[in-house]
Structure formats: C-alpha cells, structure tokens
C-alpha cells in the first residue's frame, strides 16, 4: 500500500481503519505492523480485513498480524473473535489447511558434532518423511481407524508407540482438541486423508535442520527455559498441516454454508470466501466439530513426523533418541478457531477466536499452558523462508490486545510464477549448498517458488510483534539442511 487510505496511526505498530471506512463494519480493523511492513502490504489486506469487520458477532477489532497478506475471505494473518451466541464461524477465517502449524524439536548436539552428517540426515529424512504431490505415509490405517485418529489426535500416536509422554503437554491443546466428531466429516474427506498421516505436503511446507548460534539468542533466560542451553545447538523445525483431509473438510463446509447462509439464516457476506453460519446453529456446530477432527489429524500428522525424525537421528548417529536430547519445545497451530476466555469491555468471557495464519501466543501464567511453560509464557514458533531462518518467540502478558495472537511466518511478497522466472531450482540448490544449506526437494520448480527473496523479511516481522507487545524474541534459528515439500 503506497499510501494506505483511511488508515489511522494509533502507535508505531498499530494502525486502525475506522468502522466508517465501509458500510456494514461492526468494529474497527487494526493492522499490527511497522510503517515499513504496512506500506509493503498489498491493498487486499485492508479490503479483506474491513470485510471481516462486517461479520456478525465480531468483537473489539478485526486484526491483522505483521506478516499479513491477501488471502481467501480473511487475509492471511487475520484474527477475529466472535460472540459465540450472536456471532458466526467462517472457514475463511481458518483457512483450507486447518491446523497448519509448526513444531520445534531440539537436540543436545552442536553443529560441529553433526556437520559431517547433515547430508546423510537430510537424505534420510527426505526418504522417511514423504513430501510432495499426493504422497502417502507409512502409518497404514483402515478408514475406521482413521476416524478414531481424528477424534484422538496425537494421543492416538502415543498409544501406538509414535511418541513420548512429554510430547503431548508440549503440543497446543495437549495434542487433542476435545469435541471432534467424526460423524461430521464426509467420506470424501476420509478418502483423501486416511493414507496421509506422516506426510509433509508441498508448497511452503518443509522440515529443516537448524542451528541456534550464540549471537542469535535474544533472551538467554527464556532460551534456557525452552531448552536452548548450548552454543550452536542443533534443532529441527517443521511446518505442515492436515493435508487433503483438512482441505476437504474446509471445502465441504464452505459449500454447506453457501447453501444455508442466505436462505436459512438471512445473512449476506461481501465475499463468498467469507461464507459462514451462526456458531450456535446445527451447521456452525457441525463445522466446528469437523474442523476439530482436522485439527487432531494435523497434531497426529506432526507427531508421527516427530517419531520419524527421532528414528532418523538415532539411525544415523547411532544413539538412542533420548540420549540425543530429541525433546520437543512446542507445537503450535496457526490455522484454527477456538473457544477461549478473553477480556471484552473489561470482563472475561468466552469467545470464538479465528486465527488464520496467526499463532496463539499466551503470556506467563495462562492456565492453558503446561506447568513447564506456565512461568515463561508460551513458546511461539515462526517459520521463515528456507534461506533466511526462523524464530522462537515467547508469548507475553500484554498480548491481550490481539486476543493473545501473533505472527506465523514471513509472508510471501513475490508470486510463484515470478519466483520461477527469477530462480531456477537446481541452481538454487547448488547456491544454497555453497552457503551451507543442504536441500532436498520433491519438486525443482517448487524449490524455486520458495526462494528466500519471495518472502518478507522475517526479522522485521518478529521485531514488529515485539514492539507491538504481542510476543518477544527468544532465538533466531538458521537452516543448515532442508527437506522441501
């Protein structure tokens, strides 16, 4: 936005679009960003965010995080809290890839100790964690078993030997969103998803071996509390979601809502991708229960991938995974809607928070956090581009201004076609290898599309979240090996 019209500066990182901007806005819209990030955002963000502000039952503000960009219905980076009695639920506020999220795993190894094994580790991970178009995983399930997995989430994985007890408490929702109901999902969704547990997907999904260099530790106390205790410590971060299953759940209910929205509930929306239903309606509740199945599928997917990572490190380095310190820091979801307690007009009440390309970031003391993070605040994992690095942040007490939400990644600035014109997959792989990042990919063209310059500067994004008081920097992690979906 060269000159963002109608945008009023509230502070250095908060920009408001008043509800006079567009007919039907029920609340003002707010963009959390530095002035530079705001100017770099596409105009679609303002249009879409102000559309979100027209949705029935929206409370306080329609919000967009600093990595925001144009999306479907909601912008990516969009956050909206709805009154559960009078408000709506919208698949466009969650995204097609329900519970797309990030998981961060540590090791007790230094980069020096694995430097000579990075190639072997990445090659083996590439082999063991299937990526790319239509890939299927190693967990062989019947469709009935899959229906059970989507109700149980990561807990199913533990019961079946794919994880450690501690993994669950280090997963958002403790690895299982309660209230998932497999009777609300279609046969098509099951068909698409039941072979895909343990797969990475494609596009911007990835699995990375990273290093936390000493100079990239921003908060040594929190870093230590999260398990970053040695210089040049090696970590593994990955980004994936609910695969074809979640995509089908979203598509199914988008169509359901389009059918009933106007005829049954007399609601009109500005954009069909904002199709919605009253939260307190049979259709709204059915979607909520089906969406939770996709959330659980995603927790299970990331849990099985973690199991594979432990196996691969153990095989290559000839040590037990426990002796390699392969503990999870946390697993965060960034495409969700959840019932949470927040302060509205001075009093705490239950609201339905949509987060689409936004991460929950609870501050110290939050009751939803496991004991291990109750004092520190929630670890927040922000994925960057494969060339530039990623971040570990912490939730802060002042996060209530965004319903305890923060950014999720760096956000694209270049189209995929443009990236392919500018970069060539094989050359990029060679170039990255010279810079110390070994990459394997399921698609050369896909690799070119994910080149670092196609994304916003992640350092600016996380800095903006810190200045805005919605999360704080703990550590920056730089890639040394990458499996690209």
């Amino acid at each position: 936005m060269a000159n963002p019209k109608g945008v009023v500066k509230i502070s250095d990182t908060v920009w408001e679009i008043p509800n006079t901007y567009k007919d039907g806005m029920r609340v003002p819209a707010r963009i959390i960003a530095s002035e530079k990030l705001l100017r770099e955002m596409d105009e679609g963000v303002v249009e879409q965010l102000t559309n979100v502000a027209t949705l029935p039952g929206i409370l306080n503000h329609a919000l967009c995080m600093p990595d925001g960009h144009w999306g479907y219905g909601f912008p990516i980076g969009g956050v909206a809290a709805m009154d559960p009695r009078s408000g709506v639920i919208s698949p466009g506020g969650i995204g097609f890839d329900i519970n797309c999220g990030m998981r961060l795993v540590l090791t007790n190894l230094t980069y020096g100790e694995i430097k000579d094994h990075v190639r072997e580790l990445v090659d083996r991970l590439f082999e063991r964690v299937p990526a790319g178009v239509g890939s299927s995983g190693f967990v062989k399930l019947s469709q009935d078993e899959f229906r059970s997995v989507v109700e149980q989430g990561a807990r199913w994985c533990l019961e079946n030997g794919y994880g450690w007890d501690e993994d669950l408490e280090r997963t958002e929702d403790f690895g299982r969103t309660p209230g998932a109901d497999a009777s609300k999902i279609s046969q098509k969704a099951v068909d698409r998803g039941y072979r895909q547990i343990g797969t990475l997907g494609s596009g911007n999904h990835y699995l990375e071996i990273q290093v936390a260099r000493e100079e990239n530790i921003f908060d040594p106390v929190l870093a230590e509390a999260y398990g970053l205790t040695i210089p040049d410590q090696v970590a593994v971060m990955f980004h994936c979601g609910s695969r074809g299953f979640g995509h089908q759940v979203a598509t199914d209910y988008l169509q359901t809502f389009l059918r009933v929205m106007q005829t049954k509930y007399g609601m009109k929306v500005i954009d069909r991708e904002l199709a919605c239903a009253p939260f307190d309606s049979p259709e709204g509740q059915a979607y909520f229960a089906a969406m939770k199945c996709a959330m659980n599928m995603s927790y299970a997917n990331r849990q099985v991938i973690l199991h594979r990572i432990r196996e691969v490190f153990s095989d290559i380095l000839h040590k037990d995974p426990a002796d390699l310190g392969l503990h999870m820091v946390y697993d965060v979801a960034h495409n969700t809607a959840k019932l949470e307690s927040h302060k509205i007009n001075g009093s705490m009440r239950e609201v339905l928070v949509h987060r689409k390309g936004a991460t929950r970031a609870l501050g110290p003391g939050a009751s939803e956090l496991p004991a291990v993070y109750r004092k520190t605040g929630q670890p927040v994992i922000i994925g960057g581009s494969m060339e530039t690095g990623s971040y570990l942040l912490a939730g802060v007490a002042t996060g209530d201004r965004t319903f305890f939400s923060t950014a999720h990644g760096s956000g694209r600035t270049m189209s995929r076609k443009q990236a392919k014109k500018q970069f060539h997959g094989k050359e990029l792989q060679r170039d990255m290898e010279h810079r110390g990042i070994y990459v394997r990919t399921a698609s050369w063209a896909g690799l070119a599309e994910e080149a670092g310059p196609a994304y916003k500067n992640i350092d600016e994004v996380v800095e903006a979240t810190e200045i805005a008081g919605i999360s704080k920097r703990v550590a920056r992690l730089v890639p040394v090996g990458n499996v690209k979906g």
């Binding site: 960009h69 479907y72 790319g132 239509g134 694209r412 076609k417 399921a442 896909g446």
Partner: protein, 143 residues
C-alpha cells in the same frame, strides 16, 4: 493449450483463466490447468485408468467447481492423475449435470515432474461466463 496462468491475482497461490468454444471444452481445459498446476508436463500422464465422474449443481459455476474438486480428490484418495477425455453438460429441471470420463494413471515421481500440490479450488473471483468467443472461466487454486 486453452488456458493461461495469471501472475497478478494471487501472490501466494495460482490463478488461471480457461476457455473453450463450448462449456464442455472450457471445463476440460480448466481441469487440465488444475492438473498442470501440479504436474509440469501433462504429456507424461499415460491413459491407464478410467474413472467416471457424475456431478450436478444448481449453478454452472458450482458444477465446474465440483469437477475441479474431483480432479484434486482422485489425486489424494487414489493417487491418480486424471485428465478429462469426454464430458457432456446438460440442463434440466433447474439442475446442471455433468457426466465425464477421465483417464490417467497413478502418481509416479520417477515419471511425473511435480510442481506443487493443490489443496483446494477457491471461490475467490471464481467466475464462469459466456463470452463472444464461447465460454471462459477464472479460477484461483489454493496451493
């Protein structure tokens, strides 16, 4: 190739326009564009398996939305890459119906050069319209 990928519509995703003299040609072209988003060279997909797709909808737009979703569905559910070989669209009693025969083969990473997986067909700017040239559609895919 009666379709064209558009660069300026969806930064993070894929947009295309597809056209044909008839609605059937346009729908076949849109299905190919969807597959070509995932597979670099459609010529590498051999005709080994056949699937019949029957759809109906009260709008021509949602009929095509359904057809493209089927292409995505078979890719995940059966790991099949399909192209529409024959398609007939009819209208009766307020309902549009499409009956299609699709041919293709199972995913083979050694043989098929993949670009990116398609998650869903979106309704963002989704249009199907009759023009002077015949029929034209605009589609944005979430990848």
């Amino acid at each position: 190739m009666p379709y064209e990928f558009l660069d300026d519509i969806a930064t993070a995703d894929i947009a295309f326009s597809a056209w044909g003299e008839t609605i059937e040609e346009m729908m076949g072209a849109a299905a190919d564009a969807t597959m070509n988003t995932m597979v670099a060279d459609l010529g590498t997909i051999s005709e080994r398996e056949e699937r019949v797709i029957d759809l109906h909808s009260d709008s021509i737009e949602m009929l095509m939305f359904g057809l493209l979703q089927e292409v995505i569905y078979f890719k995940d559910a059966e790991q099949l890459l399909l192209r529409i070989k024959e398609i007939a669209v009819n209208y009766a009693d307020g309902l549009y119906a499409a009956s299609a025969v699709a041919w293709g083969e199972a995913i083979d990473p050694q043989k098929h050069d993949f670009i990116v997986d398609v998650k869903a067909v979106t309704l963002h700017r989704f249009t199907v319209e009759q023009t002077q040239r015949g029929w034209e559609a605009l589609v944005v895919l979430d990848v």
